[in-house]
């Protein structure tokens, strides 16, 4: 049990870490990667449906963040999230352009990885496929709320919109998912 009289171990704030990196301590960037890679990976994976693409987007985003680190104003995590979210949206735009007929066979590789097929239930696979059919803004809202478990207030901070607008997006996303899946599962 923790002794209440002992001070809690201090964790450097993002700003402290950034100051160290900008001062020449390049290795400290690993602290920021370790701090944010898991939630951002889940976001990219939910948006793209592909582990390979999610990893690629994260790598590109962190490298971009490193190059522009001196420009961070305000919260680093929100700034970094927007870089990753933009990377996901760009990828989705490109895949729509290159895959004119976006049918089952054209799904991103994550939907049909042989290794993953083994431990996926049918519902999980269908859920992924249904998520892929949602408009990106609805999918983003659903993932932030239900996969990442964020509050509407946090989501509003990250996306720069209102709680009411986000509730509407999440509700529409749920209704769309229900329409796509309930015939089979309800």
């Amino acid at each position: 049990m923790t002794d209440p009289l002992l001070p809690l171990p201090e964790v450097d704030s993002d700003q402290d870490v950034i100051t160290r990196i900008l001062g020449g301590d390049r290795e400290s960037f690993a602290v920021l990667i370790g701090r944010y890679s898991d939630p951002l990976y889940r976001h990219a994976l939910g948006m793209t449906g592909s582990p390979d693409v999610a990893e690629d987007i994260l790598q590109a985003s962190f490298i971009k963040a490193y190059h522009h680190l001196g420009e961070v104003r305000g919260r680093f995590d929100a700034w970094l999230f927007r870089i990753v979210a933009n990377g996901c949206k760009d990828w989705l735009k490109n895949i729509r352009r290159t895959h004119v007929s976006y049918e089952e066979d054209d799904q991103p590789s994550g939907f049909a990885l042989p290794d993953e097929e083994l431990d996926r239930t049918e519902l999980r696979r269908d859920l992924d496929a249904a998520l892929a059919q949602l408009a990106p803004s609805l999918r983003e809202a659903f993932i932030l709320k239900h996969v990442e478990g964020r509050s509407y207030e946090e989501m509003a901070d990250l996306l720069g919109t209102t709680v009411g607008a986000l509730k509407m997006r999440v509700h529409r996303a749920r209704e769309a998912l229900q329409a796509l899946l309930e015939e089979r599962y309800a």
């Binding site: 900008l22 390049r26 890679s37 790598q59 590109a60 420009e71 760009d90 519902l123 599962y185």
Partner: protein
């Protein structure tokens, strides 16, 4: 006998018309059930309340959220930190460009670094 306003409510309201309460349009049962389920999924209502309004939907979402929880447990590959660190230039972000051997860092991460730089410009 048919006057339901025979208690303390005055027959003629004293408040201005704009302030008077008006009855809300009645919601259909399906809309009420949907609202209860969304309220539960948003953490604003109890599961029991949602279940009483729409038991089949609560079962459906309970099962679906079980699968969503699987996504929540996913973590970034352990190799990601090293991959990113190896792809960074060996100087700090504020250092003059002449000191940064960009070609070396691109070779370390060809897939990520080959993306056009202007496609997801970070916020300024």
């Amino acid at each position: 006998m048919f006057d339901h306003h025979d208690d303390e409510t005055p027959a003629t309201p004293s408040r201005p018309l704009a302030d008077r309460e008006v009855p809300l349009p009645t919601m259909a049962a399906a809309d009420l059930a949907q609202a209860a389920v969304h309220g539960w999924l948003d953490g604003e209502r109890s599961e029991a309340e949602a279940h009483a309004a729409a038991p089949a939907q609560v079962r459906f979402w309970g099962e679906l959220m079980g699968q969503v929880a699987h996504h929540r447990a996913r973590t970034a590959p352990a190799s990601l930190v090293d991959a990113i660190m190896n792809a960074l230039p060996p100087v700090s972000p504020g250092a003059p460009l002449a000191d940064a051997p960009v070609a070396a860092s691109r070779a370390a991460a060809p897939r990520a670094a080959d993306r056009p730089a202007d496609r997801s410009a970070p916020p300024r």
